[in-house]
């Protein structure tokens, strides 16, 4: 009697199927492909080359409309422009103020309790306090009992600080001196957040502290500065105690104009003995101009970054 399996028909069928699959390509035969035609040109809407819609929209907005689509995605040219804008923003965030920059510009160098760029991004609390060494040196050497303490700082864009920073700082100090105020020792703080002005101003026993620092970059920009002013700077002040002005750069509020308006804000604080939500801007609204209406961004013309 045979101990083998009964003769299997299934095994033969599978073997036959395998042979067939192994011999036959699962795809249909390739078609001959004629030369691919050039697709219609789709480009980032620069002033020289843009659709009628993009042209009309550009008078009202910097939003990228009328850029068309390839399937549901962007044209190559739009992708490159977009990546360039993103790279500029990321570059501005990643930049650090060189260690000797403050002194080379004649500012008293200060540093917060932050010790690395990553820590600066993750620990806003440390960026609001001076390092022990900085605090001691500043307390010992800075001018005291001043009307206004000007502070330049890196904030979220050291690129902006090194760009328009000195012009804004110089312009503001000149405006203060023109008004006969006692101006504090000009200083520059690294790894600084807005609230650092409280400790710096408190140690100088300043009536008003003003910090000028790089603002969080948007797409394609990284050169904007913001200014925050506070009356009676001291640890424990909050945002409600401060007045601010944003969008300070060549295409927004030019540094020279900003310097004048900041001096007017400081003057209001000295006159009224307060700042922030309690400050009444109405008495000098005309001098403040746009600053009185609040600090929102004006649309800026979007510039083409990639030329090939």
């Amino acid at each position: 009697m045979s101990r083998g399996y009964p003769e299997s028909r299934t095994r033969d069928l599978v073997a036959q199927l395998r042979r067939q699959l192994g011999e036959n390509d699962p795809n249909p035969p390739r078609q001959p492909l004629p030369e691919v035609a050039f697709p219609p040109v789709r480009v980032f809407p620069s002033p020289r080359r843009r659709s009628a819609l993009a042209e009309a929209a550009a008078a009202h907005t910097t939003a990228l409309v009328g850029i068309g689509a390839v399937g549901t995605r962007y044209a190559t040219d739009v992708v490159l422009q977009f990546q360039a804008e993103l790279a500029v923003a990321h570059g501005a965030v990643a930049a650090e103020l060189p260690g000797d920059w403050a002194e080379s510009k004649g500012y008293f160098p200060l540093i917060s309790r932050v010790t690395s760029h990553r820590e600066f991004l993750l620990r806003p609390d440390l960026g609001r306090r001076l390092s022990e060494a900085s605090a001691a040196k500043w307390a010992a050497e800075c001018k005291k009992d001043v009307d206004v303490q000007p502070i330049l700082a890196d904030g979220l864009s050291a690129v902006a600080t090194q760009g328009a920073g000195p012009e804004l700082m110089g312009g503001f100090i000149a405006e203060c001196e023109r008004r006969g105020w006692k101006v504090g020792t000009p200083c520059c703080a690294k790894f600084a957040r807005v609230w650092l002005e409280d400790e710096i101003g408190q140690l100088a026993r300043a009536k008003v502290a003003v910090i000028l620092l790089g603002e969080r970059p948007g797409l394609g920009t990284g050169d904007g500065l913001s200014a925050y002013l506070v009356f009676n700077p001291k640890l424990g002040n909050t945002d409600g105690n401060r007045n601010m002005m944003s969008n300070i750069h060549a295409r927004g509020i030019p540094p020279a104009d900003a310097a004048k308006r900041l001096a007017v804000l400081a003057q209001l604080m000295l006159e009224q003995g307060t700042s922030g939500v309690a400050l009444d801007l109405a008495p000098r609204a005309a001098e403040l101009g746009e600053a009185a209406k609040g600090g929102y961004r004006k649309p800026e013309p979007r510039t083409r970054l990639v030329e090939v």
Binding site: A56, A63, L121, L156, P299
Partner: protein
Amino acid sequence: MKLSATIRGNSYTFRSVKEVLARANPPKSGDDLAGVSARDPVERVAARAVLSQLTLGELRANPVVPYEQDELTRLVEDNLDEGAFNAVKHLSVGQFREWLLEPTTTGQKLRSVAPGLTPEMAAAACKLMSNMDLMVVGAKCEVVVRCNNTLGLPGTLSSRLQPNHPTDDVQGILYSAREGLVYGCGDAVIGVNPATDTPESTAEILRALGDLRARNGIPTQQCVLSHVIVQMKALALDCPMDLMFQSFAGSESANRAFGISVALMDEAYDLMRRKKSSTGPNFMYFETGQGNALSSDAHHGADQVTMEARCYGFARRYKPFLVNTVVGFIGPEYLEDGPQITRAGLEDHFMGKLMGLPMGCDACFTYHAKMSQDELESLKVLLGAAGCTYLMSMPVGDDIMLNYQSSSFHDIPSVRSLVKKSPAPEFDAWLAARGISSGHTPGERLGDVSVLR
């Protein structure tokens, strides 16, 4: 209640349920900033082991902010559906996770249990789940809402059209809105974050968007996201307000920093019910985001995931049409990088849906966070697969007013065709009639604004 666990002979003991919840959280820079995160990865697992043994009943008895100190805790406790709670109170969090994942736990069952869950329960389940767990359960949840159109039906993915402008130039807003519509965007809402927070500008923008909708017969709703008090004043100015908006945080003190309370929101809801221009039973819109309680130092020592879930406990009182987490907007001190932002987006979607909310997500990053464009695109597809109710949309994902990166007009039809999801049915029919798209398939007139009047 046992608050200790042993791993490889090392014993880990925790002081409170709040501490267990915090230490069980996956790494978040905001929890480090608050000083509540696990000291090392093994302690994190020990906390999860302890959490897996706690029952839902014990979580209800131990809210992270005490009943006496916080009106949101009182709101949740006093309004909890006892029948739904009794059905699951005996389950441990570990068993609850498994029950959620079981195929027999259908969307219908999840909808029935939602009113019996406290935020702490949703947050606890979240901490025991991987990203894909969160997606699997999130995709099962069925939350359908109706305003002028119907959102959240199975197989749909909607989008908010966000045509923001840095100076509220109405023509500029309309250029972006029209562009978005012809990419199939805007079925959740055409919603503008205003640069100027006044009743007059709110009313002016609403009228312009209302005109655009009426002229083209677009089945959606418009909203201007000013402060709720400003919108209440705008309602007196005769403007078409379909949805009323407000940002929420997870504690009474954090909401005080936002200038709101339960009493104020009750008043706003009642006023809106009488004065709204929309038709359906759902007409409120809320935004949240991990870290917003800590940013006003109002987190009560709790982690940011649990505080986020507490926003949803507040939101569900008003049967909202839209809720979304603005997940990466708050900055790297709360969510440091791509993996943390991705995780948070999936967590928030899961927790909101589990608690019965029509949950959308603003998948986004600020330019000082460590996230790439590719990582952000991945998150949008994950959210689409996880059944997210809606995503944002704006020109190339660049918000020219708020300066951050979100999803684009082009992303919405792309994600829809990848995950085979359609717009809301009323909006889908409107798009199909104009050749813009049909279901998840782009049409010949996609991107062509000449189809609009």
